[in-house]
């Protein structure tokens, strides 16, 4: 018996940290949704939630993303620029302040800036760092719109503003 207690204690110790989690657990997935496929409306969604969270064992997020959930929807070229900026605000902020970096190069390519103008683009973002990241509340839309404004005033980069 003591041995078992020890094994349990160990397991909790060694396995206590964060397990691998799926990052695309959107709403409306899981077995609850599967059982209620074809139904729609608030009633069905509430029922799906209830099935997922309350009735089916361990189904709250373990089964999310499974059965009928579309993981391929991640792949799309629409609004890639906005999504990229929003997901990498901190790294972009650093690259802009430092005047170079992989994230900033990637943003330049997403904005269609040709390689010959990258150095100009980097210089512009470094010079205007304080304006682009005006304060700690700045969000992705604000970053992009300020960036576009600054680029519009630059003779070399104005052509890339869309």
């Amino acid at each position: 018996m003591k041995k078992i207690v020890c094994i349990i204690a160990f397991s909790s110790l060694a396995f206590a940290s964060q397990p691998a989690m799926s990052s695309d657990t959107g709403p409306g997935c899981g077995i609850g949704k599967h059982l209620l496929s074809g139904e729609s409306g608030i009633g069905a969604n509430v029922a799906a939630w209830f099935l997922n969270h309350a009735i089916l064992p361990q189904s709250s997020s373990q089964t999310s993303g499974i059965l009928g959930c579309d993981t391929t929807k991640q792949v799309s070229n629409d609004q890639q620029k906005e999504k990229f900026v929003a997901s990498n605000m901190d790294s972009l902020s650093v690259d802009m302040a430092q005047g170079e970096g992989d994230h900033l190069t990637t943003l330049a390519s997403l904005m269609g800036v040709e390689e010959k103008d990258h150095a100009k683009f980097f210089e512009l973002t470094q010079t205007n760092y304080g304006t682009i990241f005006g304060n700690t509340e700045t969000d992705a839309d604000m970053v992009l719109s300020t960036l576009n404004k600054e680029m519009a005033m630059s003779p070399n980069l104005a052509t890339y503003v869309r």
Binding site: K2, K3, C6, F10, S11, S12, L13, A14, F15, A16, S17, Q18, P19, A20, M21, S23, D24, T25, S37, S60, S61, Q62, T63, S64, G65, I66, L67, G68, C69, D70, T71, T72, Q74, V75, N77, Q80, F84, S87, N88, M89, D90, S93, V94, A97, Q98, E100, G101, D102, H103, T105, T106, L110, E123, Q126, T127, Y129, G130, F133, N135, T136
Partner: protein
């Protein structure tokens, strides 16, 4: 005349009944009853399905290796097949999981339908893209009788991933998480026309357990018994870089595979049809690395990869397998946050380094004049290091990495931007040895042991996985040990017979070097059964459970050295001798050194006091050296002296062992 009328009538009847049958068959297909449809089609040679099923069965496609790989069928003991896929949405026939032929026939039937399935809002042709592609290749579908469907969703997906190459991603092993103790692999679909810098826009395919709120014990048990569902997810590479290289500070290795264009297309098609379904997830066997290998394998003409894996699947073994099969085209290294920090420190002088640390601790304002005294270029380097310190601390303190920047970070970055010079690229060198070039992960050892006043005896040992502290560091993290299932037999009692000596289930040592910034504790854990010889005729098998917590400092002596100290807590369970566990408390100090690429040594002092009836106290000094004779052979010498202050008996022992990695 009457006869002719009868004949005409008969022909008409047959014709109508056959057209009735064809209609009925089409109706079955339309309503998704593919098992009934395939049975009926076998008696109805007017329907094109009859021809296709006949052709397929004549060619025995259901026995084709490729079909088995597409469906992930594995043969079992009795020669029958079961698919490893556990999602019922993956099978068209009711018996498809266990019946390759029924599944193939039903699949053909389903291709005639333009009704979406009940699981995905897609028709069978558009849901099972790779299956359609392969069956079409084999049977050359008549497009008039079986019109191909447009599948715009797949076309968007294909255009979105824009595949140019497939790369296997290996974030290195990391001791502080069960899901990453052995490392991890995922696949990256490299986009066309991307550069080294913009590759973060590539998509990655990850196979992971959908572990939700389960923690601790229940997480472990579920992971071992396959109670988690494993599923593929598709994410941009930048979010994986963020997770591995930044959050977890794990260096990432990228192995680009040497595949043809059609093989790459095939992997994209198959990934698309696998992504909505799931597998039961097993930590050690059907894990992330295994399923990524089966995905790559589906594009090959023969199974190159997964047949090699019986039992454990360790991520680094899959890298070795792609190397063995000459599938490696190119390898790239992506340094983690802590690797970058260590590299930046090396570029700075001691004064500059302590300035960076003071700036972190006391803020920009208090050290502004010191900073401004430096040349602009050096100021930039100090501020760049300072920002990475801040980021590391943020992750360490909060265990997450939000995309926002704090006021302090913003003021540091603003100061940095005002210097108005670009940072120099870091150019961190790729380590000499790649993870796939290290020793193999299982080890067989032959030992000869000479203890004082006794004839020498022999021991044989086999360790299932993965790396010991003294094993050659090439390709491994030098300060991290993970030994799993280590069985030892010896002839200590009787020279002519081997007896059980020890079975160690797990032995982990994590020596995490500390300094002003990095403050993770070092820890050790081991558990298993050990046979202890008490007197000439008496021995006990005990169960032991030892944990230690400590500190490690890294020095640049020789190649590198780790100085460590631990507080040890040991518990022995010896049911035959004592009615309660024997607890011990002690301490260990030591030094582990890589002298060069092939020679390692470890010097260690240990003392332990146990609460057995004799209150035994032990002191032990040991010196071990390991010399790698080749990648997979090493010679190890250990000298040990143990003194028991209670019984005043000293014991000296010399152990020479030859180790083979396989």
């Amino acid at each position: 005349m009457k006869y002719i009328t009868q004949l005409l009538l008969l022909t008409f009847c047959i014709a109508t009944s056959s057209s009735h049958a064809t209609e009925a068959l089409s109706e079955l297909i339309k309503s998704g009853k593919y098992d009934q449809a395939r049975e009926q089609a076998k008696n109805n040679n007017k329907h094109y399905l009859y021809t296709l099923i006949k052709q397929a069965n004549d060619q025995k496609l259901y026995e084709d290796k490729k079909w088995h790989m597409l469906m992930h069928y594995k043969s079992n003991l009795f020669g029958s097949y079961t698919s490893e896929v556990d999602g019922e949405d993956f099978f068209i026939s009711e018996t498809g999981k266990n019946d390759p032929q029924a599944e193939l026939e039903a699949t053909l039937a389903s291709f005639f339908s333009n009704q979406p399935s009940k699981y995905a809002k897609l028709t069978s042709q558009c849901r099972f893209i790779a299956r359609f592609y392969w069956l079409n290749q084999q049977l050359l579908f008549d497009t008039k009788k079986l019109p191909p469907q447009a599948c715009p969703k797949f076309k968007d997906f294909k255009k979105g991933v824009n595949a140019d190459a497939i790369t296997m991603i290996f974030p290195s092993a990391h001791p502080n998480g069960p899901a990453s103790m052995f490392g991890h692999t995922s696949l990256k679909i490299d986009k066309k026309n991307r550069t080294k810098k913009t590759r973060m826009l590539d998509y990655t395919l990850n196979f992971a357990a959908m572990a939700g709120p389960d923690r601790g014990f229940s997480y472990a048990i579920k992971g071992l018994t396959g109670s988690f569902k494993g599923q593929y997810s598709i994410l941009p590479y930048y979010s994986k870089i963020r997770e591995y290289a930044q959050m977890e500070s794990r260096d990432i290795w990228e192995y680009t595979l040497d595949l043809s264009e059609s093989q790459i297309d095939y992997i994209v098609m198959h990934a698309y049809e696998l992504s909505p379904t799931y597998y039961d997830y097993y930590f050690f066997t059907e894990n992330c690395s295994y399923h990524l290998m089966t995905l790559v394998e589906s594009a090959m003409d023969s199974s190159l990869l997964t047949d090699e894996f019986n039992g454990w699947v360790i991520p680094v073994d899959t890298l070795k397998a792609i190397d063995t099969n000459n599938l490696i085209k190119k390898v790239q290294f992506l340094p983690s946050l802590s690797t970058k920090i260590l590299h930046r420190r090396k570029q700075l002088s001691d004064t500059e380094n302590s300035l960076a640390y003071n700036l972190l601790e006391h803020g920009l304002d208090n050290y502004e004049s010191q900073l401004q005294a430096l040349p602009v270029k050096r100021q930039a380097m100090v501020l760049d290091l300072l920002y990475e310190y801040m980021r590391y601390k943020k992750i360490d303190d909060s265990d997450k990495l939000s995309t926002g920047i704090s006021k302090e970070e913003r003021s540091v970055l603003l100061a940095r931007s005002k210097l108005h010079i670009p940072s120099e690229p870091l150019n961190i060198p790729t380590p000499d040895k790649r993870p796939d070039q290290g020793h193999d992960t299982s080890r067989f050892s032959l030992e000869n042991i000479k203890a004082n006043n006794k004839p020498s005896f022999q021991r044989i040992a086999w360790r299932s996985a993965y790396h010991g502290l003294l094993d050659s560091s090439s390709g491994y993290t030098p300060n991290y040990q993970l030994e799993f299932f280590n069985l030892k037999l010896s002839n200590e009692e009787n020279p002519d017979s081997l007896k059980f000596d020890q079975l160690e289930l797990l032995n982990i040592i994590s020596l995490a070097p500390r300094d002003d910034l990095f403050k993770k504790p070092s820890w050790k854990f081991k558990t298993g059964w050990d046979r202890i010889i008490r007197t000439t005729n008496e021995s006990d098998t005990i169960y032991y459970f030892d944990v230690s917590l400590g500190l490690t400092y890294k020095k640049n002596w020789f190649k590198h050295s780790f100085l460590y100290g631990f507080l040890d807590f040991e518990f022995d369970f010896d049911d035959n001798r004592y009615n309660k566990p024997v607890a011990g408390i002690g301490s260990t100090v030591g030094m582990l050194t890589d002298v060069n690429d092939i020679w390692k040594f470890q010097l260690q002092l240990r003392s332990l006091t146990q609460n057995d009836p004799m209150h035994s106290r032990y002191n032990e000094i040991s010196l071990s050296q390991n010399i790698a004779l080749s990648k997979n052979i090493s010679l190890k010498f250990t000298g040990k002296k143990t003194s028991n202050s209670t019984t005043s008996i000293d014991q000296e022992e010399i152990n020479v062992s030859l180790n083979f990695f396989h």
